[in-house]
Amino acid sequence: MRTATMEFEPTRRHFLSMGASAGAMLALPGAVRAASGITDMRLLAFDGDRLLTASETLMASPDGGRSWHERPTPAPFSSIATHPARPGRVLAGLAQEGVAVSDDGGATWLRRSEGLAPGEVTAVIVAAGNPNMFYVAIRGDGLWKSEDTGKTWSLAMDRPWLDEAERDPLALASVDLETGMGGIWIYAGTEKGLTRVPDCFCRWQDVQPGNAMDALVTGDAPPAEAPLPSDEPILSLVSAPTAPSTLFAALPSGVWTSQDGGVVWAHKAKGQGRAVAVHPTDENHVVAILDGNLKLSRDGGATWTTIAVA
């Protein structure tokens, strides 16, 4: 088992970056450093009440995004996930390969990549019903699963097949809605729209209203559908822990939300959407990165305000 507690594993890129950062630190006050670091962030997650944002670095805010504190990272992140029942646990997909896990809010990290296929981890998620179960998507490979916080991994499923080709999941969400197969759903956002697979991993399938089998048998007309745009990549996807059928997605066209598990979507905020996160105890408390700014909504995406970074 290849696990090690890490502070930093600096590469040449890190070294140069750190040198540049050190220069900036001498010249700029702390608040300005934090503010400039936020603007290029691509990832968001709530860890309890703390807000995390990351890309090359990880930053944590204890006050809703007004102030930020940088955390060490083992390598540049490509994706992050947390779990409402396990504050402090952060699962990070690494841009080059592998994952890292922190159980102290990002202060220290363990690499958990043994047995995992090589390649960029494009998306990670912690299972809604089990904070020890992780799923990660690896570019060009597939969806992998660990039932022991990343100590061991196994291939769960190949990549979804959409528009005549396999597509990399760019975002994953563990959606605590029953599949009818004794489990729940894993949703994946791709460059060609949304898809989902039951956690028994029988098959990727379109998001459909209600129970497809019942509709088939009764002959009822299917409810209306309003899917996400299929010609835009889904860059971020979350299910509200307090209302799992409430989903939020960030796309280049903005922030979208669904109240019915992904069948009908509404365009809630226009702009260059990059990431979205929902508070673990309030499905109306949403934070998004939109046009490079940190945006806050306390009404489920109906209205947004820009968070002023101190």
Binding site: G142, L155, A156, M157, D158, R159, W161, E164, A165, E166, G180, M181, G182, G183, P198, C200, F201, C202, R203, Q205, D206, Q208, N211, A212, M213, D214, L216, V217
Partner: protein, 161 residues
């Protein structure tokens, strides 16, 4: 169950010997204890018939030992998924009796519209009773944990055929 007279007594006796290790016939009418399909009891004869039908119609893809096709989690070149195992290493035991019956009879597209699969619909190949026998046979091979899980999934599936 439905078609107990289909196979001869000799075939039944031979198969029942082997099956006794997996599921225990315990009722006066020959029903197998702890095993049902779509709410009906299953007999050793049903399972024997299902095993023979499985060998004829299913084993070429799903494997003689229900092991599935190699590397079954990886997509084939045609974009479709290989035949999964039907033993406890696969996902069959996550599906309700009703789900399994509909998929076998109508193909995967019957529950996931538009889904492309190499598995045919068996509605013109096997009768409903034969499909039930095949699925009863598959269920009879599962360990207790998988059988209990699947029984609960089936009990929670309130839909009709």
């Amino acid at each position: 169950m439905r078609r107990a007279a289909t196979f001869g007594a000799v075939a039944f006796a031979l198969t029942a010997i082997g099956f006794g290790v997996l599921a225990e016939p315990g009722l006066d009418n020959g029903s197998v204890s702890g095993l049902s399909f779509l709410g009906e009891s299953v007999t050793g004869a049903d399972i024997a018939a299902g095993e023979a039908l499985y060998a004829e119609s299913c084993a070429s893809c799903h494997g003689a030992e229900l092991e599935g096709q190699p590397d079954w989690r990886r997509r084939l070149d045609n974009g479709r998924m290989p035949a999964p195992p039907h033993d406890e290493t696969g996902h069959t035991w996550h599906h309700s009796d009703r789900n399994l019956f509909i998929v076998t009879k109508g193909g995967v597209g019957a529950i996931v519209p538009g889904y492309e699969s190499d598995m045919p619909a068996f509605e013109d190949i096997l009768t409903d009773d034969e499909i039930a026998d095949v699925l009863s046979y598959i269920k009879s091979t599962w360990p207790d944990r998988q059988r209990e899980f699947q029984a609960e999934v089936s009990a929670n599936d309130k839909g009709d055929l």
